[in-house]
Every structure is written in C-alpha cells, then in structure tokens.
C-alpha cells in the first residue's frame, strides 16, 4: 500500500501536484495534503454533502472519488469561490439571510449552490430545494438557505439586494474605492 502515485490537477485555478496512495480519497488529499479544510467530512456514505466540491463543471462529493481519478481535473472548493478578495454573491447571501448556524455544512452548501446558479440563474424555490437535497443541514431547516440562494440569484442577475452585514459593507467600500 505504500506505493504512491503523482497526480496533478487544478485547484481553485492553481496547478497542484500531490503524491498519493491509489486508495486515497480526494477529500483527504484536499484536507490533509493541500490544506484546504473548507470541505468537511460528515458521513462516509455520500449522504451529507459537507465535502461537496465542483469538478470539471459538476458538483462532486469528494468523499466518493479517489484522488488518482482527478488527474488533469479542474477543481473548485469553497476557498476559491470568492474572487479577487471580493465575496461571491452566495457568500453574501448566506450572511444576509442567516443561511448558516454551526457552519459545518456551509462550504458544501455554497459550492453546490454555485453549481445550481451556473446551470439555472433564475431557479424557483422548488428547483432550489431539489438541487440542494444532497446537502444536509441540521441547524437551519433549509428555509434561510433557500432565501440565501434566492438573494444570490437576484444579485447575480443585477437586481437590487439589501446588504447589511458590515463585512459586505467593507468589501463594497473597498471595491468602490478601487473603482
């Protein structure tokens, strides 16, 4: 089992190279070898979705794939959702609409919702609930998660949204100054 394989892929737009055993799961590689502890482990049966990442334009539960299968892949995790120091609309939405409590499911939720909004920019509530059904949350009861995603969809479509979290204010102020 000590035989290792070199695997290269893109992680949040940066090329990475890791040595792994063939049996190593992607979630362990991300968390233990690449210091990306945003995706979490909540079960070992692919039910909870806490480990969700985006790979080659599709959501993926990173506990169900071996790292060796990711050769050449393009992987996005929660750490790569904010761009250029600016939060993604989904990250804002989760803060604004109280879409998280303990925060353990949140990285997976946001990464999954990111894929949803790539595919359906204007989802109905039913579509949101259907798309998010592979990600479990024990704290929120999903109602505010749905609102958070609706908030992000509105913002990404260019519609006005209310932002009242100070962090969002700072970012907005920064971008105003930059612009």
């Amino acid at each position: 089992m000590s035989q290792t394989v070199k695997v290269t892929f893109k992680l949040n737009d940066r090329p990475v190279e890791v040595l792994v055993e063939p049996r190593e799961l992607l979630i362990h590689t991300l968390r233990e070898k690449l210091a990306h502890t945003g995706p979490h482990i909540g079960c070992e049966t692919s039910h909870c979705g806490a480990c969700t990442v985006d790979m080659n334009g599709a959501s993926l539960k990173s506990c169900t794939i071996l790292t060796v299968q990711c050769e050449g892949a393009d992987i996005l995790t929660i750490e790569g959702i904010a761009k250029n120091g600016e939060l993604h609309a989904l990250q804002e939405g989760f803060m604004q609409e109280h879409g998280l409590q303990c925060g353990f499911c949140t990285p997976g939720m946001i990464t999954r919702a990111y894929r949803l909004l790539q595919e359906i920019p204007d989802p109905t509530e039913e579509e949101i609930r259907y798309w998010m059904a592979g990600n479990l949350c024990r704290c929120t009861g999903y109602q505010n998660i749905v609102k958070s995603i609706q908030y992000a969809a509105r913002k990404l479509r260019g519609e006005p949204v209310e932002t009242s979290h100070p962090l969002m204010g700072e970012k907005a102020a920064q971008s105003e100054m930059a612009g």
């Binding site: 089992m1 000590s2 055993e21 049996r23 190593e24 362990h28 968390r31 233990e32 990306h36 502890t37 945003g38 995706p39 979490h40 482990i41 909540g42 079960c43 070992e44 049966t45 039910h47 909870c48 806490a50 929660i78 750490e79 959702i81 904010a82 939060l87 990250q91 989760f94 803060m95 109280h98 998280l100 409590q101 303990c102 925060g103 353990f104 499911c105 949140t106 990285p107 949101i128 609930r129 259907y130 998010m132 059904a133 592979g134 990600n135 479990l136 949350c137 024990r138 704290c139 929120t140 009861g141 999903y142 109602q143 505010n144 998660i145 749905v146 009242s164 979290h165 100070p166 962090l167």
Partner: protein, 802 residues
Amino acid sequence: MDTVADQTERLGKLEGMGCSRKRREDPRFIQGKGNYVDDIKMPGMLFGVMVRSPYAHARIKKIDTSKAKAHPGVYAVLTAEDLKPLKLHWMPTLAGDVQAVLADEKVSFQNQEVAFVVAEDRYVAADAAELVEVEYEPLPVVIDPFKALAPDAPVIRDDLQGKDTGSHGARKHHNHIFNWEVGDRDKTERVFADAEVTVKQDMLYPRVHPCPLETCGCVASFDKIRGDLTVYITSQAPHVVRTVVGLLSTIPESKIRIISPDIGGGFGNKVGVYPGYVAAIVASIVLGRPVKWIESRQENLTTTAFARDYHMTGELAADKDGRIKALRVKVIADHGAFDACADPTKYPAGLFHVCTGSYDIPNAFVSVDGVYTNKFPGGVAYRCSFRVTEAVYLVERMIDTLALKLGIDRAEIRKRNFIRKDQFPYATPLGLEYDSGDYAPALDKVLAAMDYQGLLAEQAKKRADPDSPTLMGIGICTFTEIVGAGPSKNCDILGIGMFDSCEIRVHPDGSAIARMGTITQGQGHQTTYAQIIATETGIPASMIHTEEGDTATAPYGLGTYGSRSTPVAGAAVANASRKIREKARQIAAHLLEVAPDDLEFDLDQFRVKGVPGKAKSMKEIAWAAYNNVPPGMEHGLEAVDYYDPPNFTFPFGAYMCVLDIDRHTGETQVRRFYALDDCGTRINPMIIEGQIHGGLTEGFAVAMGQQMPYDDEGNVMGSTLMDYFVPTSMETPKWETDFTVTPSPHHPIGAKGVAESPHVGSIPCFTSAVVDAFSHLGVTHMNMPHSSYRVWQQCQALGIAN
C-alpha cells in the same frame, strides 16, 4: 443633541438587544475558514482508531495485538490491560455510573470500544485496526428493557453484581439502575379512585440520535517537558471535561487546557466524555505526541449518546367537563449498557417532572425506573433540556386522549386547563415553580392565524366524503418548557453547581473583550452576547470581542446545552455588564464633578440629569479608567460575574400543524406549520427565528422518521445515514413563526432561552396531527416515527388503503 434622529443613530450604532444584528461568526464559515477539530493539524500528530465489538454482549477471551503492533507506521495499540496500571480502563459518567474506556473482559453493547490503535495517519490506523484479533464468546443479548427486568435476564453489568444501591438509591434487580419518584402518590391514587373520567395510554418515545453534522473528536497533546495537556475537543462543556480529565489523570486542572474550537452542531451529542477522548489523551501521554481521534458517522450514530428511549404510561383523572384532577406517569427508561445520561446529579430522570405541562393539574405522581440493556449508552438531551421532550410529549398526548374520550375540542380542553396568568409564579404538584406565562392569548393568536374553525369545517367535509383520497389531520400543542439549568441548590454535575459565568474587560480605547463559560455550536453567541453587553454598557457591539471555549482564558462555566446559555450565562453577561456600568458611573461622576446619583445612563453615555450637553461617553470613561480614576479606586474597567440562577426559566408556545395523508400510500404532507414561541425578552429576532426553524426541523425529523432500531441480536439497524433519517430540503416543510413576549421576572434581562422549544413543542404537535387524521376511525394514539410505511400500516389495519 437629543433629537430623535440622533437617538436612532446612536441606537443603531450600538446594535444592542432587540435588533437583528447579522452574525459575526459567519465570515469565517462562508469562506471555508472555520476551525473545526478535524481541521487542526499539529507537528508530529498521530491518528487513533477504535477497534470495536461486533457483538452486543460477549465475553472477551483473548485480544491479540501483535500483528497490529508489527504493522509499519503503528505506534501503539492500547487495550484495557494497558490502561489498568493507570487505573484508566474505567471512567466516571456524568450520571454517577462508570463506563469502560476499553472493554474490560466483556462487551455490553455493539461497537463498544475494545482497543485503540495509534498510527501515523488515518489510513494506516484503519488498516492496523483490522489486524487486532479479538476472540469473543457471545452471551445472550437483551435489548428490551422490560425483558431486562425479568428475574432470569442476562446480567449486563458484571461489575455491579451484588451492589444493591447505585448512585441514585436502591437497585431492585441486577439490570436496574434507579427508581425515581416525585409527587404525592397517595393523594393521586385517591383522586384517581374517585374520578369521573380517567384515560390511560402507553407510548414509546423511541431511541433517537442527535446526529450533528460534525461527529465527535479530539486532538490530545501532552507536553512531556512542561507536563501540561492540551485537548482540542468537540465539547459542549469544555470546563466539565477539564474537571473530568483532571480527576481521571491526576494532572492538576491548572496544567490542563481544554479548547472547544468551532463546533459543527451539538444538540446534546457533545456533552459527555467519551472513551475515544480518554484513549487519545492516554495515547498522547504515553507517546508524548499529539493524537487525533475523529469518529466516523457510524461510530457517532452507534456509540456516542443517544436520546429518549422512554417507555411511558400516562393516566389522567378528570371531571366530565374535561378539567384535569390528576396525572399519573410510569416510565421505564432504557439507558443502555452504562448510565451516561447528562442530567443534573439529583435528577436521574432529568427535568421530566415538568410533565404537568401548561395545565393547572392539582395532583400528580411520577415514577421512573432506569434499566440497563445491551445498547449503547447515553440518554442525552437532544435539543431539549434533560428529558423535557419526553415530558411534554406525554402530557400533550394525554390531553389529546382525554379530549377524544370526552368529545371536547382539543383547543377548548386546553383552555379549560391552562394555568391562568394571575397564578404565576405557579407551584406545580411536582415541585417546580413556573416563573411566568400567558398561555391563552398565545393559543388564541394561533387559532386565529390558522383559521382553526375553517380547518375543522374542511376536515369534517373530508371525513364525510368516503372517496376522499386523503385524510386531514390538525395537530395542536401548547407546551411549557423548562430550561436554564440551573439553580445550584438543586442542580449540579459531578458536584459542581450549574452556574455560568462571564468576564468583561474594557480596554482604554473603549473596545472590550468578553469571555464566557459557555460555547457556541451555531447559536451565534459571538453576536448575541455582544448585543447584551452593548445595551447594558453602552459599548457598541461591533467594539466587543467575545470568546468562549478555551479553559485557559474563559471563566469556569458548565457549558452550552439545555438552552442554558441565555438564561444562565446571558444573565452573567448582563450582571458583569452592570458591574462595569456602575464603575463607569463612578468614573463619570468624578470626571464631571457631580455625585454619581446625579447621573443617568443614556444609551452610550452618562449624562447629568437636567443639564443638557453635560455628559461623558463610555469611550471617554474607558480612557479615564486607565488614567484618571476617583481617589481610592483601582484602575481598569473590568468585571466578572458567576451567575447562579434563582430558578429555571419556563418558555412556552402554541403550535399548530395541518397535514394531509394519502391513505393509499401513507405519504404524509405537512401543509402548514405555525409556531408561536414566547421566550421572554428577545435579544436577536433573526437568530431566534433561525433557531426555531432548526428546532422545528429536528422535531419533524424525530416525529416523522428518526429511530435507532435494534434486532434481537443487538445489531444497530440505523447505523448510517442510509438508514437513519435526516430530512433534506425536499421533505422539510416551510415554517411560519410568530411570538408573544412574557419576560422572566427573575432573569436580569427577562430572557428565557429559545433553541429547544421548537423541538420540544413540534414533536407532540406532529403526532397530534397524525393521530387526528385517524381519530374519527377510533385511533387514539400512534407511536413515532410516523414514516410513510408506518402510517400506511395504520391505513391497512383500518382497511382504508386499497
């Protein structure tokens, strides 16, 4: 200066109590920068894996660790034999029992801890765990607590043989743990004997598991040179863990530092001290290297802390008008193989004696027997205070049953029996004193919001239509919760009173740090505690940093569970803030050269009464505290408060649920769920609503699908998320929330606590609705979970499914 606009602006800047302040913990979580225990990595860290028993009851004939020890990358394999010289093979539980850290000659539940393998990483540890060879001799298994009390039942706890008293008094049988009785038995018997009407109902509150999304785990790191131990741990009660570890290891508490980092949900699962923690600590002490232990989901669901498993029989005596005269309850409580409940020492059945509910019941008697079975230990409060969910379920089921028997409307019978507003503080027949309540207006508000009469008319129409494909059920629940454990006169854990604490330091620039003995697991303490301090001291919440969970810095507290943070630590926060404010008044008086009594507190400043413009802001006062204090006063501006509550708090609520059942498939659709909660003073409405959504969803899970079933061999049949129900966004209903405000008279800010009410209140409401759907067909009770299959079975039994 004193314009309304100015006041509003200052109030806005303060972000004190009552506003929906956005959460300060969110930025790290939404960016994947939370710091949960499995995210912690230390130099030289090793990984531990438990070897567990496949048998629910077996004698261990032999453990051969040689192959595992020889496996490359393995550092240690611990068994009970290795722990014996250190006297660490058994540990105390929070309930006064003992539990095997690693199985000592026998195992008493499936997946019990047998050996602990420590290796360089989790893969190697898992490989080596499979090389540990254990020879078992299976013993007869007993999983039914009634069968466990049979004279010839297998002995589950060999270590207790011959002991006829336990930590809660006499034991009647080798599998008996305790009997706990409260109330006036004789008087209750007499009332029953003379009653116009009586009803009786057996019910099972099934074994469930809190199942937080993050499992339990720890990283233990013992520094051999300094002789100190640091443990990062998923604990809802880090200070209690420190005391337990100190007792076990004989390391002084001053050399032990317990840190609860970010916690991915607790819900009662993370209160206890588990064998994995102890094993990791011992391994770290032995090896002198940090050792991480993280549960798998299967380990979490099958070994660390179940909830409920109460077999209850309730009886009500009443007059023909439905006025309740007495309540009698008998409970057989299945505690599993070790009594590891997290109850206050004096209450082996927790606060079950709140089971007279919101009703003015003059007589009551309760008897609870705790029983050992070959199941995993626990009995924790899954999003409720100790055994309150069970108690509320019982009384709400009983009043529904009485209403059915007498043909009285379920809302009406509740109103006839409510404790009236003028009866508070109200002494219950089981020895509690309810602080405040106003039940009838709450129920009326819900009945109006839901158009109860309209729903009844619709239901009557459906019932009259033999072709209706659906059955309609209306559920009602008017619960009273008991939270905020608790007064040290009757609440302690391991002899430590259940107070809580807060320490605030105001810095020269007017910002502040506050530390509490509690620990947030998603409740948003960082946000809400700062709001209390802001209102009480006038320091803007944004200038207050709050910190919890590190025993090296935080004052001693009993932790966060049983909705005790707001009622207990929240009060300590308010009191410490007031101490700061009083010192600030003295300083302000000195600066303004007036008497302290001439000053009045105004949002964020002290001003001289009747002299507009003459004032000192808290910022100015904070600066002065470090350079210009009144003669004789110590410098600095800080305060500590240890709050011992004079009483519990009693939040309440009125819930209504409407659901439709497909009588051919048993599929149940929740049409509406309306939850009105009264948690006293509201600190942050946004967070309260979030807590209520979460509690309702967990209530939905328990009522509609959760159960930890066992087969006759003691195999756990709900050991993964394939088999254990956790609702997704698809099946979770949409919640409607509402509130009334009845402050607690004894709490400094009148707050009562909220997170658990929706769980406690919604579960009987769902059962009430499901049973109501069938009540016209003669059904008076159905046990949970109300899964489609079980509901369909009911339809089959009644011959109404095709």
